[in-house]
Structures are given as structure tokens and as C-alpha cells.
């Protein structure tokens, strides 16, 4: 496709949606008389015009697929024949699946916890230092770049050359300068997961940091001043005032990062492609979408396992939403 064609369809695509809203509303404005008894009639048309595109997209891309994926998980690889729990049984007995579940659990335990912790500590430090906002900017920056870009950055850090050669990877160069043997970090089972998680922590700490920074401002300054005058140490203030005060925020950030980590795919796909026992559910699922011509049954089971992970968060969000509606 030539560049001219490409920019043309981009323009056309966006224009299509704008003109839908404009033309339909324009017609309604012109022909729908705004008298009192017609107001209701006009309004119901208006509602349809306003919500229809979004609703169709919501239906096709979220609602229908959720039910379809559940259905497919009980069907064979082509989605034609009902096979009952066969795909689920396969998953439980599949060593790759077990490995992925364990890895996912490791990610879920380590990444949200450490990102939240670092974010909280850095937000606190930066809050009290005059060059804090520059520091925050720098630590926040990885949030803007892609997981694949981050993958390249860190692959370069973990780069391995044989023991005799000059190490061009920073980590090995440091190790060698202390007199140790260089290591092929990404191929050491179990530990390589930690090295991949480090990338995610590097990225997500920024997210935690900015949200904590905003939340810190809501803590009354007098309270901290008062405890300082009473002779409380900074550490004491941190643990006895700041952390209890930010409890809600900590929970929000922790769930936010948990959701992101649950469907982690790009980093592992780019760095190891699941080799050396680093696979996670999303990678295994991607694999099964195309492996052997694609197996929609197994792929769907894997998607559902990821979904099960977010159901508690989903339920909690809905509960909170209900509470808010009542007020």
C-alpha cells in the first residue's frame, strides 16, 4: 500500500465517524421539532444515535468474545465439536501450562509488590528534595516506552559474551570486573524470570510513583510537622503516618499493576519467547492460537485462566461502583 493511499484511508476512517455523528444529529435537529410532547420522542432517537456506535463496538469486541471464548473452551481445535472438559484436562496435565502458571504466580507476587514499594519510597524521597521533580521525571520515563523497546534496552544490559571476550553487556562487565565468570543471564532457569521481572518493575515503578506523588499531597502537612516536632524519626513517620494514610492508594496501585502483569506478553515474547522455562500464560496462549494451524479450544482455556485471575478485581470494582451509585 502506498503512503498516499495509507494516509487517505486513515483520513477517511476518522472522517467516517465524525460524519456519522454530525449528519445524524443534524438531521434530527432539523426535523425533530423541539416541542414538549415531541421532546421525549426526539430524545430516544438521540440516545440511540449517541450510544449506537460505541455499543456495537463494545458488543463485537468485548461482550460477544467473552461468551464465545467460554464456549470455544469446550469445543475442539476448530470450534466445531463439543468435547466437554477435554481442553481443561489437557491444560492440567500439560507441563508447559503448569510452568506458565507458576511463572505467572511469581510475576504476580513480585512485580506489583516491588513496583508499589519502590514507587512509594521514591515518591517520599522526591517529595522532600528540591530536585525531586526531575528525579520523578526520569524514573517515570520508562512508562512511556514500549515493552519491546524496554526489552531491547535490557537485552543489551544482559548481553553475554564468552569468558575471554570483552563484555559489552553492562551487567556482565560489572561481574567480570569483580573477578567473576560472565553469565548468560536469560538462560539460567528460575533466575531468568527474575531478570525479566526486573524490566517490568523498571517500567511500572513510574506508574506507582506518579499516583503516590499525587496522593502524598493529600496528607495534611500539619500532621507530619507535628510528629516531627514530637521527635519522630523520618522512618517512623513513613511507617506510622504515611503508609496508613495511603492504604487505599496502595491497594489501587497494587491491583492496577496486577492487572497489567496478569496479561504480560510482550517482554517475554521479545526477550526469550518463553524458552528456558520463562513462558507465561499469555505467551502460551499466543502460541496455541497459531501452533499446528491454531487450536481455539486450548487457546480459549488459557484466556479463561487469565480471566479468572481478574475476576476478584472485577467483582471488587463492581461492588465499589454500586456503593458510589448509592451515594
Amino acid at each position: 500500500m502506498s503512503l498516499l493511499n495509507l494516509s487517505f484511508i486513515v483520513f477517511l476512517g476518522v472522517l467516517l465517524f465524525i460524519s456519522y455523528f454530525h449528519i445524524s444529529n443534524f438531521v434530527l435537529d432539523k426535523y425533530g421539532e423541539r416541542t414538549n410532547n415531541r421532546y421525549r420522542f426526539e430524545n430516544s432517537f438521540r440516545v440511540i444515535i449517541f450510544i449506537l456506535p460505541a455499543f456495537i463496538v463494545l458488543f463485537i469486541f468485548i461482550l460477544y468474545p467473552v461468551f464465545e471464548t467460554v464456549r470455544l473452551s469446550f469445543y475442539d481445535k476448530f470450534g466445531r465439536e463439543f468435547v466437554g472438559l477435554y481442553n481443561y484436562k489437557w491444560a492440567i496435565n500439560d507441563p508447559e501450562f503448569r510452568r506458565s502458571i507458576l511463572n505467572n504466580l511469581g510475576w504476580l507476587l513480585i512485580v506489583p509488590t516491588l513496583s508499589t514499594f519502590f514507587g512509594l519510597v521514591i515518591a517520599n524521597l522526591a517529595d522532600r528534595i528540591w530536585w525531586g521533580s526531575i528525579a520523578k521525571s526520569i524514573i517515570f520515563m520508562p512508562m512511556a516506552i514500549s515493552f519491546v523497546g524496554a526489552g531491547v534496552i535490557w537485552k543489551f544490559i544482559y548481553e553475554y559474551r564468552g569468558p575471554g571476550d570483552t563484555q559489552i553487556g553492562l551487567l556482565n562487565a560489572i561481574i567480570v570486573s569483580f573477578g567473576y565468570e560472565p553469565q548468560a543471564w536469560l538462560t539460567i532457569p528460575l533466575w531468568n524470570n527474575v531478570f525479566l521481572m526486573a524490566i517490568m518493575i523498571w517500567i511500572q515503578t513510574g506508574l506507582a510513583l506518579v499516583i503516590f506523588s499525587a496522593a502524598l499531597r493529600s496528607i495534611p502537612k500539619e500532621m507530619i510537622e507535628a510528629s516531627r516536632i514530637d521527635g519522630a524519626s523520618e522512618l517512623k513517620i513513613f511507617f506510622s503516618i504515611i503508609i496508613p494514610y495511603l492504604e487505599q492508594t496502595i491497594l489501587v496501585i497494587w491491583t492496577l499493576i496486577t492487572i497489567i502483569v496478569l496479561r504480560i506478553f510482550d517482554i517475554i515474547f521479545a526477550m526469550t519467547n518463553g524458552e528456558w522455562q520463562t513462558g507465561v500464560l499469555a505467551n502460551l496462549m499466543y502460541d496455541w492460537m497459531f501452533r499446528g494451524g491454531g487450536d481455539s479450544g486450548r487457546g480459549s482455556v488459557l484466556a479463561i485462566v487469565i480471566m479468572i485471575g481478574v475476576i476478584p478485581i472485577l467483582a471488587w470494582n463492581l461492588y465499589k461502583h454500586r456503593q458510589e451509585q448509592k451515594i
Binding site: F50, P65, V66, E68, I145, R263, H321
Partner: protein, 379 residues
């Protein structure tokens, strides 16, 4: 007072350590992308920041470039094609003694030919007998190389490796994938906030639930729909409009949610007054809501745009991996596999892919942060 100073120094130090750890990976990538590709492969990027000693091997020209001057046959040449300020310190003619000779000294080969080198890398190789070999002899040089940077890698990556095209493709994916949800969700959010209709609360609850649904739940059914659609109408199953709509679908819940939160905060009286004046909902939307929502739009635009720009999975599943459709992240991943040892291509490619996010980050950080803080939850 003394205690506070002490702890403040400690916290400054601690923060400095964090900052250094966080910046070094990106900094290393950036420096590497500006280095000469041969140096990149043999030395760490941190060595390029200072003047360093490099050892190199060079093979002199062969018989074809010899000229005769009086009694001597002479071959002249330059060791460095482009010399970025390297200064040769010493040289050698065997691999065992690479530092045997200083600048100005004459090295004599076994066949009695002589070579001299100046510090800029010009050599003069002369012999009483005619040179008869096609290849010249090797010389080993030790030179001091000052920090030197080049844009060569960028030129190569943008035009030869297809990163330039991938950049445009990504833009063609990300722009509509941001604008379309913004358009349809602003009307949707308006209806959810200001209009009364049957099923509104249910719809809102569905949006809240959809916020956390992982997009993996949608991949297989949508891919099937696209394939069926393509087969039915005889068009390609994977196309740009397909990706836009997929991104629209996956971004719909969070965009609507954020916009609704914003609209809810606007005063109701304004809307009522406009209605009394006979304004339709569309008038209100265009003339009141739209101008007021610009900052909210900016935040949401940035979030969704960065999401689409940085996405890999959607672009991988819903686009063909051909030069006219492949996006930057997928291209980078491909290069990681095929050119895993060519760090000049990888580092430069990665940096090119980061230019737009970094620009947005530095120019519009305020809106970016505001959007994130407003509660970015994405499935």
C-alpha cells in the same frame, strides 16, 4: 537541626542511586545507537564516553596500488577510512608484538620491505623489489580514540532496514485507533452521564466490568470474525481498519470510563440552562461540553495513543507481518530474532521507536500524568 540535615543527605543519596539505576539502561541504549557499529560490537558503550585505547588490525593495499619512485616501489594509504580523531600510539607487524614500534620508527618485514606510519593513520610501505601479492600485509595499531558519535546507524536503520516504513505504519495504526474511540466514546460518555434511558445503569456496570477484562479473551473470536468477514467479501482478513476497530474495542471501556468521570464533574445547571434555551443535546455537546473537555481529551488521547503506539500483541495478531503493514514493535521483535548480534540496528531501531513516546512524554507530561492518575485501568 543537625539530624534533619543528616537524614536529608541520606535521602538525597538514596534518590540519586534510584535515578542512576533507572536512567542508565536508556542512556546506554541512546549512546550505543550513536556509536560506530564496529566499535559497538567489541567494546562496552561506557568506554565511548572517554578517550580509550583501541587495538585494531588493518590490511594494507596490495600490488595493484603500488607506484614506482626512483629505486623504491611504494604503496601509500590510510588506515582509517574516516578518521574521527583517532591518534595512533604504537603499531606492530606481528600479532605477537602489536606494540613493537612507536610512531616515527620504521618497521621492517621479513621480505625487507619497510613501513612507516604517522599518528593519523597514513602509512607508507616501500620495498626495493616489486610487490607481487594481491593482498597487502597486516599491521596492528594501538590508538587513542576520543569519544566520537555518528548518525550512520540511523541512516541505515531508517532506510535500509525498513524501520522508517514501520514508523509510518505505526502512525497509521495509532492515530485512527486513538481518534475513533475518542469520537465515539465522547458521545457514549455524554449519554451515560446526561441522558436518561432504559438500561443506563446496566451499561455503566458493563463498562466498569470491561475495564479489567484481559484482551486475550477477545483475540480468538475476533480473529475468527475477521477471517469469516474476509472470506465472505473477498477482502483481506488483516487490514488497517481491522486493527483500528480492535484497538477501539479494547480502549473503549477505559476511554468511556475516564470521560464519564470527567463529565460527571461538570455542573448540571449549565446543561439545564442550555436546554431551557432550546438547545438540543447535540448543540450542548458541541458548544458546551467539547470546549470544556479539551484537557480531558488531551489526557485520554495521550494514554490511548501511547497504548496503541507501544502495543505489540494487537498489531501482531491483526496485521500481516509484511513491510507495508508491520508495526515498529513487531519489526523490532523480528530484528531481535534475525539480527540479534547487530546491536547497532537493534539499539537504533529501539530508539527510533521511542522517539514519539519520549516526545509526548517530555512535551505533554502534565496531561499524561493527569490521565494516569485519573485512573487508567486497561484490560
Amino acid at each position: 537541626m543537625k539530624k534533619i540535615t543528616y537524614s536529608s543527605i541520606l535521602s538525597q543519596l538514596l534518590l540519586l542511586i534510584f535515578v542512576i539505576i533507572w536512567i542508565i539502561p536508556t542512556f546506554g541504549l541512546f549512546i550505543s545507537s550513536l556509536r560506530d557499529k564496529d566499535l559497538l560490537a567489541i567494546s562496552g558503550w561506557w568506554t565511548s564516553l572517554t578517550t580509550t585505547e583501541v587495538n585494531e588490525i588493518y590490511r594494507m593495499s596490495g600490488m595493484e596500488s603500488q607506484i614506482q619512485e626512483k629505486d623504491y616501489f611504494i604503496i601509500k594509504g590510510k588506515i582509517f577510512e574516516k578518521n574521527p580523531g583517532k591518534k595512533i600510539q604504537s603499531f606492530g607487524i606481528t600479532s605477537k608484538k602489536i606494540n613493537e614500534f612507536q610512531i616515527g620508527e620504521t618497521a621492517i618485514f621479513k621480505d625487507k620491505s619497510e613501513v612507516t606510519i604517522d599518528e593519523n593513520g597514513n602509512y607508507l610501505w616501500k620495498s626495493l623489489t616489486e610487490f607481487t601479492k594481491k593482498k597487502g600485509k597486516r599491521i596492528f595499531t594501538t590508538s587513542l580514540s576520543p569519544p566520537s558519535f555518528t548518525f550512520d546507524n540511523y541512516r541505515e536503520v531508517l532506510f535500509k532496514e525498513g524501520i522508517g516504513r514501520a514508523f509510518i505504519n505505526t502512525l497509521a495504526v495509532a492515530l485512527p485507533s486513538t481518534l475513533i474511540p475518542l469520537i465515539i466514546c465522547s458521545f457514549f460518555a455524554y449519554a451515560l452521564t446526561w441522558m436518561k434511558f432504559f438500561g443506563r445503569d446496566t451499561l455503566l456496570a458493563i463498562i466498569i466490568a470491561s475495564l479489567v477484562v484481559p484482551l486475550q479473551m477477545s483475540l480468538i473470536p475476533i480473529l475468527t470474525i475477521y477471517n469469516d468477514f474476509g472470506a465472505l467479501f473477498g477482502v483481506a482478513a488483516k487490514s488497517y481498519p481491522g486493527v483500528w476497530m480492535a484497538h477501539t474495542g479494547f480502549g473503549l471501556a477505559s476511554t468511556t470510563f475516564l470521560l464519564r468521570n470527567f463529565l460527571k464533574s461538570l455542573p448540571n445547571e449549565m446543561m439545564e440552562a442550555a436546554k431551557v434555551d432550546g438547545a438540543s443535546h447535540y448543540d450542548i455537546f458541541l458548544k458546551i461540553i467539547l470546549p470544556l473537555s479539551i484537557p480531558a481529551f488531551a489526557s485520554i488521547f495521550i494514554l490511548q495513543f501511547l497504548w496503541c503506539w507501544n502495543d505489540l500483541l494487537v498489531g501482531l495478531v491483526f496485521l500481516d507481518q509484511v513491510p507495508s503493514e508491520i508495526i515498529l514493535t513487531a519489526k523490532l521483535k523480528e530484528l531481535l530474532g534475525s539480527r540479534g548480534e547487530n546491536w547497532e540496528i537493534l539499539t537504533t531501531g529501539a530508539f527510533v521507536s521511542m522517539t514519539v513516546p519520549l516526545f509526548i512524554f517530555f512535551a505533554l507530561q502534565r496531561y499524561f500524568i493527569r490521565g494516569l492518575v485519573a485512573g487508567s485501568v486497561k484490560g
